[in-house]
Assembly symmetry: C2
Homo-oligomer: 713 residues x 2
């Protein structure tokens, strides 16, 4: 049954009650209430206060059950020990949504965790959903609803934000305003006891006013649901995420912040890639790239025009874009001729177009962009050097003696130029346009660009990086295969192997058992048989064909190579016999596996591990002796489709070795992908298996073969 997302109501309430707001404006609870009252909330507002008759000019109620109607949303900013009973009181009168600002729960340790459990129980009892505890509230700019500690005086915006840190949706309001970045909705999820980050993501995905979504993540509890929800959104709406729990210190800090459970960085890196999420590594990019994605038309190709009044920023933007995989095409001779008519004689027309230092900015901001936008030779544009009143103010102290007493303001007004249609030209042509300027919104050009939803970045490189984010989303939207993976039925043969091993007390499956399970799910393994007799070993060898490998096979046998339990490259009967005895001498009376020897210069590997809240996490990477040394690995969460499995391979630095390589044929990429899928399938269908390690995967020509395998129960 599809439950409606609780945030639809929570962000659009008819009525709100607060507990903890009073008449001292310097208290946090009061600030929160003031934001509701002052920033445009149109519904009914009910302060609960033990003593006051009026709070912030609104009639106050001493008790919850004295309220004249059931408030749709209750907001708590009270001491920790009052939260549970308050939730109960609101539950009793029928309130279904709450925001618990109060901290002191899970993030503080065991007692807090218990208290949080009580809070959840009460909420469940009354079928209530709530944000927090330990959150900062929400913002809905379309509904003029602000339940945070700071004032929000901007126009409605297009960037949706869900954050495990409240700061990023309040303390940064001033920062965002200066950059012209405007939230559609912003949701602080705190400890996520009831409504979590995934609910917020889902809501923002459904919200039509939200054109791009930014996520600040310290840890995700339900990785599978996150994946499902995100994969539905990213094909049509860009999602960005920052993850900060990947290091020891990050995990520890996050845990004492919101009690989050962090996982290794590679897990989240794989998760984001798989879900089509653009990963960023700073809150600046979460905002800045998010704003570019929320405001600009989708990029249709990777050709960028660089327009500048200065060589340095132009060169750096060109270089940054090019290194990031975009093109700065040299313009056609026709376009160059057109440009030469409007630019100064020594100016560069090729792309970058660099008119060098110039007082008349109309050429830079209008004539050149217009000519280029009309050409059809590019897919996006970056511009540096639009300086208006900011520049005039810079020179005023030097020129004022010449101005017959003009004040700075009069001087600025006299000389300032308007942008006119240059502000919207790119929209007309459906091409993204990003601006770099050393001047902030006190410059009229920066201000006007920002007002017209043209992102302005304070350095050339940031402008280029934002364009690269647009390009990343282009690749996701155009290239990513989001089709639902199919999981095959469980193999009864595999189940039986696992069951028997468990019953016999094994804590891991030996190589033979492990490979048999893999074979059940279509993984090609070397032709091989198990035996305990030397005569049979010879017979098997003759059957599979020389050269063969003999390996001692037992779940207890680790590090087979080092202990002499592996005998490679045996070419005849005598060698098999003597190898058999060597194994028995070194490893004891273990069964011996006789396998066809596979010679391969390329070695890869696959594996599976588990993290709470996530499906089986499949790893692929460079194998053999390079496994630990190069740590060239990629991760995905099962199940995933074949295209995703192949993407995994292309994440590897060593992916070039999969192509035709020296005298070796190209690897069968489908077959490799299917191995990774099969590893995931084993993990999905056999929860008793905790870990899988297939190393190496070798190649018989183009065909990958699992040569050694181990599974931990």
């Amino acid at each position: 049954m599809h439950q409606a997302n609780p945030l639809h109501r929570l962000l659009n309430p008819q009525s709100i009650a607060t507990v903890g707001a009073g008449n001292n404006p310097m208290k946090m609870g009061t600030m929160q209430a003031l934001s509701i009252i002052k920033d445009g909330f149109q519904g009914n507002f009910y302060p609960i206060h033990p003593k006051e008759e009026y709070v912030l000019g609104h009639k106050a109620y001493h008790r919850v059950d004295a309220l004249p109607e059931t408030p749709e949303v209750a907001v708590f900013i009270v001491p920790t020990d009052q939260v549970v009973s308050l939730m109960e009181e609101f539950g009793k009168i029928g309130t279904k949504y709450a925001i618990v600002i109060t901290a002191g729960f899970r993030e503080t340790g065991e007692e807090g965790m218990k208290l949080e459990e009580q809070l959840k129980e009460v909420a469940n009892k009354y079928e209530m959903r709530f944000l927090g505890p330990n959150c900062i509230g929400v913002l809905n700019s379309q509904a003029s609803l602000n339940i945070t500690v700071m004032s929000f005086d901007q126009e409605p915006g297009m960037l949706g934000m869900a954050s495990q840190s409240g700061t990023y949706i309040t303390q940064s309001f001033n920062y965002l305003r200066r950059r012209g970045i405007r939230f559609s909705k912003a949701i602080s999820v705190g400890n996520e006891a009831s409504i979590d980050l995934v609910d917020a993501l889902e809501y923002l995905g459904e919200d039509e006013d939200t054109r791009a979504i930014s996520l600040y993540v310290e840890g995700i509890r339900d990785g599978d649901r996150f994946m499902k929800v995100a994969s539905k959104i990213t094909p049509h709406k860009p999602v960005l995420a920052q993850y900060v729990g990947g290091s020891e210190a990050g995990a520890r800090a996050g845990s004492s912040h919101t009690g989050s459970m962090a996982g290794p960085d590679y897990l989240y890196d794989g998760l984001f890639k798989q879900a089509g999420i653009i990963r960023v590594n700073s809150v600046e990019d979460l905002y800045g790239h998010g704003w570019a994605l929320a405001t600009q038309p989708p990029l249709k190709g990777k050709r960028v025009a660089v327009v500048t009044n200065s060589g340095g920023p132009g060169t750096s933007m060109a270089n940054t874009l090019n290194e990031g995989g975009m093109e700065i095409p040299e313009f056609s001779s026709g376009l160059r001729a057109q440009l030469k008519e409007i630019i100064p004689p020594h100016a560069a027309s090729g792309n970058p177009v660099d008119i060098t230092f110039h007082i008349d900015t109309q050429t830079l901001i209008h004539h050149i962009p217009k000519t280029i936008l009309q050409s059809g030779e590019i897919d996006g544009m970056v511009l540096h050097g639009a300086m208006g009143t900011g520049f005039l103010r810079e020179i005023y102290p030097h020129v004022k003696d010449f101005l017959q007493g003009l004040t700075e303001e009069e001087f600025v007004q006299r000389y300032k130029q308007e942008q006119g249609e240059s502000l919207n030209l790119h929209q007309k042509h459906g091409l993204p346009f990003l601006v770099s300027s050393f001047f902030d919104a006190r410059d009229n050009y920066t201000e006007e660009y920002q007002k017209n939803n043209v992102p302005v970045y304070d350095s050339p490189e940031k402008t280029a990086w934002a364009m690269l984010a647009l390009n990343k989303y282009r690749e996701i939207r155009e290239g990513k295969d989001f089709s639902t993976p199919e999981v095959p039925p469980v193999s009864s043969e595999a189940s039986k192997i696992v069951q028997e091993a468990l019953e016999s007390g094994q804590t891991s499956l030996d190589e033979y058992q492990s490979k048999k399970i893999l074979r059940c799910y279509g993984v090609p393994v070397a032709t091989e048989e198990l035996t305990s007799s030397v005569e049979e070993a010879v017979k098997i060898a003759e059957n599979v064909g020389y050269p063969v490998v003999l390996k001692g096979c037992s779940p207890e046998l680790m590090h087979k190579t080092e202990t002499g339990a592996v005998q490679l490259n045996l070419n005849n009967q005598e060698e098999v016999i003597s190898a058999f005895h060597r194994i028995r001498n070194s490893a004891g009376e273990v069964p011996v596996l006789v396998s066809k020897m596979i010679k391969s210069e390329r070695e890869f590997m696959g594996g599976m591990t588990r993290f709470p809240g996530f499906g089986p996490v499949v790893m692929g990477g460079l194998g053999g002796i390079f496994t630990e040394a190069l740590q060239d690995t990629a991760f995905r969460v099962a199940p995933f489709n074949l295209a995703e499995a192949q993407e995994m391979l292309f994440d590897l630095k060593s992916h070039r070795m999969l192509k035709e390589f020296r005298h070796l044929p190209a690897v069968d990429i489908n077959a490799m992908g299917q191995i990774f899928q099969a590893i995931g399938t084993v993990g999905l269908l056999h929860p008793e298996i905790k870990e899988i390690d297939i190393n190496p995967i070798l190649f018989d020509g183009a065909k990958p073969i699992a040569v050694d395998a181990l599974m931990v129960l």
Copy 2:
């Protein structure tokens, strides 16, 4: 003979003449003159003007030879075709220094290049040194000298800047002022026809007021001199560099900007590492990290305290620092107990110290830092959340009804708190301190920090990245061996081989010749001999001991492996004989090299290539089949010392494979380093050799051996 750096005089002139300044304040030339006049220049100022009697209130001269004294520095902002004759005129009257702002030279193509050559000739004739052409001028804040287009109204600073883009020392003044970043000296080098970036670097290295140096680089002409100059500075003064010429687009844009010659990114990456320069990839970091290095005490270790009023920024700073190699140590129980006395009950005391949202900021900015700084448990500190008047202004619209008519300004003054000694506590303890704030200098805390040379960054991650830059410099200062490399004498045997090859018309040296040269410089190669007779081949094989390798050996033979000219792993006389014939069948009547076979699981490689202006560029990397696939390489410019050669190895991702690795012993790092040094030596002493390729370098136990080699003449 040591020539005094021309910038000493050019940046401290007694008198300046300008040509191109008039009385129209909106012209670039006039702006430049106004900066001289208005920003505090104390010497004599002489405008040259064809018509005006007075320029900007100063008596003007119609001709250069009419000047009442010889100006020490001449500044030209005139049409391109007037520059050469003007230089001549100033040369005649004895002026020794000039700044040529005018563009239209080398950067515009062949004709411009000729004109630039003429300009250099004239300057040489009169022993003049000049900046530019195509530059924006200079700034010397200690001498109140500003020869740029914009006004500079800041206190003298500590960050030195040398830039191949004028914008980064003018257009960014406003940007820098808002961040409290102040130049000591800033030098725009333009086309570098006379004074170049290296001169500027050298000058800034010598300048006592400059505490850190930032370089914006599109291309370096004299790489060897750059290396020498930089290596003298970086042991005692940090140098940062951004390089933007590494991509096709970056190189093209740079070339049309200042006519610079760019080289591949890896070359500059190696160059910077070798010189102890911290590489950054944005102008923001050039400024921001430069400012941290210019203002903060040197970092003495890698333990950082994270202090915050918000979990998100605290977690992200901790994570970013930790991922970057620094430590966020959990505080001792003693320190935690001290902290708990001053922080709120639920606040985290462990590190990060997170007091969560709080109006009283004295705890955050003063009490906590003081307690931690005194503890001796950390080496540096980052702080997020100091919000003063900026925060008050944010809430004013909401609280003003309660303020009995207080204006915003009165409200802010009433509630604002002072930082007091918290501003300088870290200096007292000699520890670096960096601040993260979403509020700019309109917040009194940000403003005061900036005034007191505490860098404030507008995001938590940037604060952490700046601290990581301090840590990088700590590693350079403490760890880098700057001792001068010794180059051995030339080997007459090697010279003879090269000479004979050239005389016989060879364009490359064959494997045997190449290895003989390497052996002359101490590179261990496999025991081997060359022969043309099968009988002798067998004898050699018996001498060097089985197994052996036979290889066809001729400068014409490329891709030996693919063409059957390499026969590996020959174990006896018969195998040698048949291999000899196989080689002759496939490769013709070539001589055959009989070498001891070396079996090695690890394969590395070395090489040498040349770039104009740079010494031989030595490459080291992972070899064998992984060479192209993984492109794991590092570069240095010869000559370099043994420690530097070993640093090269640690640059490689695969450096873990050099340690004790599975059943393999640790590689002899000295011997590996000596091979890289020897490759450089060959390049230095034999300029006829254009390229060297040694691939693979294999290992006999710990000892590296050059197994195949090729040199291009």
